[in-house]
């Protein structure tokens, strides 16, 4: 995304492919990158939330 956006910036501003790359980079930054925070929070919880519950109660 970022590499494509950087490449798009070097192209003509009216190139639809370049405009699309910038639109998608913007969307990815605002709607998809925040997922990283969720994954990080879960990873930071470690093994306990997964291993503590008794298998019989799952």
């Amino acid at each position: 995304m970022a590499l494509a956006a950087n490449a798009a910036l070097a192209q003509a501003k009216d190139d639809p492919e370049a405009r699309s790359a910038l639109d998608l980079a913007s969307f990815y930054g605002s709607h998809l990158m925040p997922r990283a925070l969720m994954h990080e929070m879960i990873v930071r919880q470690g093994s306990v939330p997964v291993t503590a519950p008794d298998i019989a109660r799952i």
Binding site: D23, A25, L32, G46
Partner: protein, 540 residues
């Protein structure tokens, strides 16, 4: 008017060029000519035409009329055998195979682009020639010359296909319990690579294990020799053809056959076979690599297949996007204000959001898949040994992410595609319904996504003390820094990439320390760790 797959050629070309320049592949002498515009334009244009005109129209046919198992063997879906004949005649089966084996020797990067088109147009068909690519890799690296000469040219030309025969009813993800046995052929005194053996046992879930495309199918089979130790260390790899060369040069049946095929949720035209070997004298096969080192040999093939799953999922994501976008432009629902005409649903904000999400994920997946393919090419072709090693390590790190993250992306994009279609996407006749079902296998086969996540975090990162990862994170942070801060639309991505790569680096160091005392840590967090890294690399 049928809505056939139409390869996004402009996007494919620009991503291919970006992957080649980012990895430095375009500077390597051995790849320069293959990556020239003349060559890639010709290959991509012709592949797009084949995908659109031959493979795509057969896709719903295969879903409605799946492959069948008969007493004479597996009969494929109507039109598929003829499509394979044309596929082979056009030379597509030999695209990335080395010239010395009769192939065209084009980079893996170009093959990834054509593979995306085959999968987007007709995944069930695409899986057949794809196995052959992995088999050729395994045979080239591990088989003695006598065996290579006997099988590789025919597979490369597409005259024969290949199949990967690992799974048994009791041995799925855990191959340590394999029971198929191999006995040294009578009169054979040498048990070195290339020696002849007889195999006895049953295999299940063998993709394209039997069909009517070609006279012969070359199976790569995992089995145990009589002296094999228990567990994974006792597994050997054999090449077992469906047909053997008789004294008069005619092919005669080997003692291996498909006795049933699965009725599946998706990829219905791809025959998923249960195979039996040794109903008579035993299936004749030849040892590949050293005895008891079969798993390592098979992993050469498996790594190719894992990149292949990412390519499948990318193709399906693109197809889902095409179908959903067309539907969203054509379907009229709702009005802006009372008295005005109904609007196409793409004008509704949430439909636009879904389409943008599908498109952004698909483009991110394409970037990751092509970058990894180009990195594999650098690992093979770079003149400098240090560059080859660095590329090998990076490709090894990225492969489980390509397999697992991109297959999850494929599922998500296909699911969004069904949602955009509304009720019409839920009926069997809708192609988006087939795309959704076809995509669901991605996270399961060629090593489940959990296995990929454990491989990534346990073997590729913790064992490596994150050296390869940190080099990748350095590159991502540098790219984020290159994004101009003064462009507001890119500020979010710039900030997120920079902070995310730093936080992932810190968390990884903590995991390396904590995993020493907590044996459950890697298994518990590996899935989310891989997805975290996938989101980051996708945004790169």
């Amino acid at each position: 008017m049928p809505n056939t797959y139409d390869a996004p050629l402009k996007k494919i070309r620009s991503t291919l060029e970006l992957a080649a320049s980012t990895t430095g592949l375009h500077l390597i002498g051995a790849a320069k000519e293959s990556l020239s515009a003349d060559v890639t334009d010709s290959v991509l244009d012709n592949a797009a035409r084949f995908a659109r005109e031959v493979l795509s129209p057969l896709n719903p046919v295969g879903d409605r009329s799946p492959a069948r198992c008969t007493d004479a063997g597996v009969v494929t879906s109507p039109g598929f055998a003829e499509a394979y004949r044309r596929f082979r005649e056009d030379g597509w089966s030999s695209l990335s195979a080395p010239a010395e084996d009769g192939g065209m020797g084009l980079p893996t990067l170009v093959a990834a682009a054509t593979g995306e088109m085959w999968a987007g147009a007709n995944l069930a068909f695409a899986m057949c020639p794809e196995v052959a690519v992995g088999a050729v890799e395994a045979l080239r690296h591990h088989a003695p010359e006598s065996v290579r000469e006997r099988f590789v040219p025919q597979i490369v030309s597409g005259e024969w296909t290949a199949a990967m025969s690992l799974t048994e009813p009791q041995a799925g993800s855990d191959l340590s319990t394999l029971r198929t046995r191999a006995e040294l052929e009578k009169g054979e005194t040498d048990d070195a690579p290339g020696s002849a053996w007889r195999l006895f046992g049953r295999k299940i879930y063998i993709s394209w294990g039997d069909h009517d495309f070609t006279d012969n199918i070359v199976h790569l089979v995992l089995a145990r020799t009589p002296d094999a130790p228990e567990g994974l260390k006792g597994i050997s790899l054999f090449v077992v053809p469906k047909q053997l060369a008789g004294a008069d040069g005619q092919l005669v049946r080997n003692d291996i056959r498909a006795f049933s095929i699965e009725h599946k949720m998706g990829i219905r035209a791809s025959p998923t076979c249960s195979m039996v070997m040794g109903e008579r004298e035993g299936a004749l096969g030849w040892l590949i690599g050293k005895r008891h080192e079969g798993l390592a040999c098979m992993f050469t093939m498996m790594n190719t297949m894992r990149l292949g799953v990412g390519i499948h999922s990318l193709g399906l994501a693109e197809r889902a996007l095409q179908l959903a976008r067309t539907h969203a432009h054509e379907r009229l629902q709702g009005r802006g204000t009372v008295g005005t005409a109904q609007r196409p649903i793409i004008e509704h904000a949430d439909v636009r959001r879904m389409l943008l999400q599908m498109k952004a994920l698909t483009h991110a997946a394409r970037g990751l898949v092509y970058f990894t393919a180009a990195t594999l090419d650098v690992a093979q072709l770079a003149e400098d040994a240090a560059a080859r090693t660095a590329a090998t390590n990076r490709a090894s790190l990225l492969t489980p992410i390509v397999k697992a993250w991109v297959s999850e992306v494929g599922n998500e994009v296909a699911s969004l595609g069904v949602q955009v279609h509304g009720g019409t996407g839920y009926v069997d006749d809708a192609e988006i319904s087939q795309v959704y079902r076809d995509s669901r296998i991605g996270p399961i086969f060629e090593g489940t996504n959990y296995i990929q996540a454990q491989d990534l975090l346990g073997r590729k990162i913790v064992r490596d003390r994150a050296q390869t990862l940190n080099a990748l994170l350095d590159d991502i942070a540098a790219t984020a820094n290159d994004l101009p801060a003064e462009i507001p639309a890119l500020a979010g991505l710039r900030f997120q990439l920079a902070t995310c790569s730093q936080r992932l680096r810190e968390a990884t160091q903590d995991i390396i320390h904590l995993a020493v005392a907590d044996v459950d840590l890697i298994g518990s967090v590996a899935h989310h760790y891989l997805q975290w890294l996938g989101v980051l690399v996708g945004g790169w």
